[in-house]
Symmetry: C2
Subunit: 355 residues, 2 copies
């Protein structure tokens, strides 16, 4: 079977190439993976896992161009730190050290920079990790947009942890409440869509009722709790940032060659997020989360993991939301209670500069 | 004794804050180190060295905003890879893996992006390191400047290597040709100022005679050769990028509390670089090098290290250029042959966006 490789005929870069959806994937395949080709990079996981002197280290990077820099619930500084902590955490690693590079536009206010760096410092302390390397560059007015932040992180993969989106498996048939042959269960550690919709609401200057705020937070504590409860029964974890739960589960479904059914009634979505999503025409399932993890868990451990997550202050809204099935491999299916429909993979660019 | 801490009263960011000189240092101290404070970051070394499961790993990051993106001798892709390889190498580490994040401006030409990524890939292959993690973001037209690249790298510090700018030491008196009590010698692995002056010449569209090209190259091979020849007698290494040889030696002089005398006649500077420097009024000693290392070596090993460097294809112009002395601690002194003068530490911003 040949690998599906998206065609790439675009001649210039558009905002769609930064969406985290199909256009990004096509660009990454055609321009980056084709030339930088190596098996670790090609895995496109949240963090690369490398053998190093007997240990397994996780290594990850992200660039942050979120707009606005300050948003309800956080700012680019804590977003950058937590984003990197979370990439390490969902790779089964204990975050050890971070780096941070700042590209600052001439004319940027020093007090704002101080505030951003302060948020980054507090986020690092909260996650129990140090920023040990940094860089600062300044570009001329009109050649940046305030501040861009690039963070990288290294961590040590915990002993015995083997995670991968390809590891989830279907049962022979779907049995949701009892019986044998149930496929792996999909859990989320909390509400969905908060970050993306908080950003979009602020950007469009909508005044909505309710507390709409980014969920930006470190998930390493939640992940530790889940691993402690599940052991080897926790087989896959993803950080559902750009592209949201939808992209995370599409990836899992594609790599594991399973179908994934999610039940709409079980999806934890805050009222304010749902309302904002309806007004803006944005599905909370396709927007970035910045303090959540998606887990693939063997069915026998699902309730145990759920209980462990819910005991954690950041996991009170955790839920079992779906199941892996043998039918429709590679697809994500939404069970609305009234019927089932395929969820399309994000394509274009509904949400530029969300993180 | 209280630590000298530069005052920082600036209210907005200016290009000077990106120079790598005193303004950058003041910003980094006041905004970054004060809040992110930890001993590893505060060392401001080329790479952080961390204990990790028994090994010592080196970890470094850089952001690249060089302008133009394509310049004589290279482009931002190979600059970003080599810059990170070199930060690891001068920290005594074998580079293991790199990450690369791209912030791309909407409208950027895909063939140019492909070319940059291709250069990065070739540079990584030449240095024997893989790019294992990446990220791509797109910003709107007018919010970037083509492409910014953020690279980070991890490496394993070689057994027995102990390097630090504070480790160079002076002799009791300066004896340049024979005798006892000579201070540690300063070596450079090749010509100085090539990158900075190639960039400035191209940016100002000067047509100069001679081959003025960036020296962008990986120094890890040179460093290996030097370590093999010197063993423990190689005590300090720096990557003389922003601020050039001058900044690298000012740092060494300040941290080791020694004076450093460099002999003008021994400084390897290409004719074209010298000519461009004179026309532009830029001293090759204060501009970035991107394929060189500065070494502090115990005097007994200096000639041996020089010979080893000169055997390497990238080290043919290596030279012993200076000596650490007890007088004038913290200062860099240029011996012109006719007399001696202090070299001032770079302050303002002669060279924005040089790397």
């Amino acid at each position: 079977m040949r690998t599906r490789r998206p065609r790439f005929r675009d001649e210039i870069i558009t905002l769609a190439h930064g969406s985290g959806g199909r256009a990004t994937h096509a660009l990454v395949q055609a321009v980056f993976l084709e030339q930088l080709a190596n098996p670790v990079l090609s895995g496109l996981s949240d963090a690369a896992v490398l053998p190093l002197d007997g240990a397994r280290i996780a290594f990850t990077t992200d660039t942050y161009v979120v707009k606005p820099l300050f948003f309800p619930g956080g700012d680019i500084g804590e977003l950058a730190v937590n984003g990197t902590v979370n990439d390490l955490a969902v790779s089964g690693a204990r975050p050890v050290a971070l780096s941070a590079g700042f590209v600052i536009e001439e004319g940027f206010a020093v007090p704002d920079l101080r505030r951003i760096v302060g948020s980054a410092a507090r986020a690092a302390a909260a996650a129990g990790v140090a920023v040990v390397a940094g860089d600062t560059k300044v570009v001329e007015r009109g050649k940046g947009d305030g501040v861009y932040v690039a963070t990288s992180g290294v961590g040590v993969v915990l002993d015995g942890v083997m995670l991968g989106p390809a590891r989830v498996r279907s049962g022979d048939r779907v049995v949701t409440d009892a019986g044998l042959a149930v496929g792996d269960r999909i859990l989320v550690t909390g509400t969905l869509g908060d970050h993306g919709l908080a950003i979009m609401t602020r950007r469009r200057d909508l005044r909505l009722e309710g507390d709409l705020a980014s969920d930006v937070a470190p998930v390493n504590g939640l992940v530790r709790a889940a691993l402690a409860a599940a052991g080897e029964d926790l087989v896959a974890m993803k950080d559902p940032t750009r592209g949201g739960l939808s992209s995370a589960l599409h990836e899992m479904a594609a790599k594991a060659r399973v179908g994934i059914v999610i039940e709409e009634a079980r999806l934890p979505i805050a009222k304010a997020v749902r309302a904002a999503g309806e007004i803006l025409g944005i599905d909370p399932l396709v927007v970035a989360n910045e303090g959540k993890a998606v887990l693939g868990v063997r069915p026998r451990a699902a309730e145990r993991v759920l209980a462990a997550l819910r005991e954690h202050p950041l996991g009170r809204s955790a839920a079992i939301v779906g199941t892996c099935i043998a039918e429709r491999p590679g697809n994500l299916i939404l069970d609305t209670g009234l019927g089932k429909r395929l969820v399309a993979e994000l394509d274009g660019e509904p949400l530029p500069r969300i993180c």
